[in-house]
């Protein structure tokens, strides 16, 4: 049996890119850092806070997210939303995710696509 350590590394590698996909999908509905963290966790994407917060900023800098400060509630919060560019990138990423799944399924069945 492989060690927990090895298994965890592989799972981490597999999951890494999916956080971006999940965030871009989830932020079609504007949200702030902590609430997004909770939502992703509830939908089976456990993300570390210290990974997600810097990631949101990076995606914003890349133009995939837009942001807006909401000062209506008790504490001012920065709300992120998926931009048009973000949607375009997301579409490509989702296509690729599907392609990966199809490829894996094809391999498992032992057939050429």
């Amino acid at each position: 049996m492989v060690s927990e350590e090895v298994l965890r590394t592989h799972l981490q590698e597999l999951r890494r890119g999916t956080v971006v996909v999940a965030s871009l999908v989830a932020l079609r509905q504007p949200d702030y850092g902590y609430a997004l963290l909770q939502r992703l966790g509830a939908h089976g994407f456990p993300v570390d806070a210290n990974t997600l917060y810097p990631l949101l900023r990076r995606l914003e800098e890349q133009g995939l997210l837009t942001s807006e400060w909401n000062t209506e509630e008790s504490r001012p919060r920065k709300f992120y939303r998926t931009s048009a560019d973000g949607e375009a990138v997301l579409a490509r990423l989702l296509d690729d995710l599907t392609a990966v799944r199809t490829s894996v399924a094809g391999l498992i069945e032992g057939e050429d696509r």
Binding site: Y34, A49, T51, Y53, P54, R57
Partner: protein
């Protein structure tokens, strides 16, 4: 009020680029407050919640690096191999050259041959440290400025290693031995034995410096060249055996001849010690002649035997 959160945010912002500091600070502060609320909402007390949230966020320097997209490595995988190769390459000769130069300068310009070896070792060490530092600095800067490196291509592949008759270790050992032998000549002249009455006497007759000692030193230096040539060819060849024979004889014949004619040892030294004076010097000469002849003959037979062996 200087809460843990204040300290945490300040520590994070310290290494974040200035223009984004304020915004990242406000957002981080709000996020931390939200996370704390999330915990106190399920009944945890505020202080414990704060500690746990900050612990979860981890080392603020690391968080700041993620915000700034900064690399947490001095030299990353893109540059490491080139850095390592260049470093090893330079360290094979730069310290040696610097050491020899420092030693020679100490012995000649400063007229202090006794301190030459110490100066050489210090010079070599300094050169090694300096080389390592500057090479590493250049690569650390390249890492941070995304300098492009020429791509690897197949022409850079080294030759597959050949079966070597002459190994690097053997050659290095021979070269070190030759260097020590070369160093012995000036050493015995300048740092000689102190005799009973405190005077210093060279072991070898100083009169020989006018001709024979320079000749012997020249032969030893030529031997260094032979070692290098031998290593490069990887095995003994007949021309190398011939050169070795000439050099060995050029060393052994004068030494034997000088010994047999009682001209090698310093006559003052012989006079100083009774047992040398009373015929001991002849015993020394006889033993030395036999040893010299033995080493020379064995070396020639050994190299010739290796040259005859077919290449592997």
């Amino acid at each position: 009020m200087n809460s843990l959160t204040d300290r945490y945010v300040a520590a994070t912002l310290r290494t974040v680029p200035a223009p984004r500091r304020e915004e990242i600070g406000s957002e981080l502060r709000a996020s931390i407050a939200d996370m704390i609320d999330g915990r106190t909402g399920v009944g945890q007390d505020a202080d414990t919640a704060e500690r746990e949230v900050l612990t979860e966020l981890g080392n603020p320097d690391q968080l700041a690096a993620r915000y700034a997209d900064r690399r947490l490595q001095l030299i990353g995988p893109r540059y490491f191999l080139v850095w390592w190769r260049l470093l090893r390459l330079l360290l094979t000769f730069v310290p040696a050259v610097a050491g020899v130069v420092s030693g020679v300068v100490k012995a000649t310009v400063d007229h202090d041959p006794g301190a030459a070896i110490g100066a050489g070792v210090a010079g070599a060490l300094q050169a090694a440290v300096q080389t390592a530092f500057w090479i590493t600095l250049v690569f650390a800067v390249a890492e941070r400025t995304d300098t492009k490196l020429p791509a690897w291509n197949v022409d850079q592949l080294p030759e597959a290693p050949r079966e070597r008759q002459v190994t690097l270790v053997d050659s290095c050992a021979s070269i070190v031995f030759l260097l020590l032998t070369i160093a012995f000549f000036p050493w015995q002249h300048f740092q000689p034995w102190v005799t009973g009455d405190g005077s210093r006497l060279p072991m070898i007759d100083p009169a020989l410096w006018s001709f024979w000692l320079p000749v012997l030193l020249a032969v030893l230096v030529a031997d260094l060249g032979l070692e290098v040539a031998k290593y490069r060819s990887g095995r003994w060849t007949w021309p190398l055996v011939a050169v070795k024979a000439v050099l060995d004889l050029a060393f052994a014949v004068p030494v034997v001849w000088l010994l047999l004619t009682d001209r090698l040892l310093n006559p003052d030294l012989v006079q100083r010690f009774e047992w040398l004076r009373e015929g001991g010097v002849d015993d020394v000469a006889r033993v030395a002649v036999v040893v010299t002849a033995g080493i020379t003959v064995w070396g020639l037979v050994d190299s010739a035997a290796k040259a005859r062996r077919p290449a592997a």
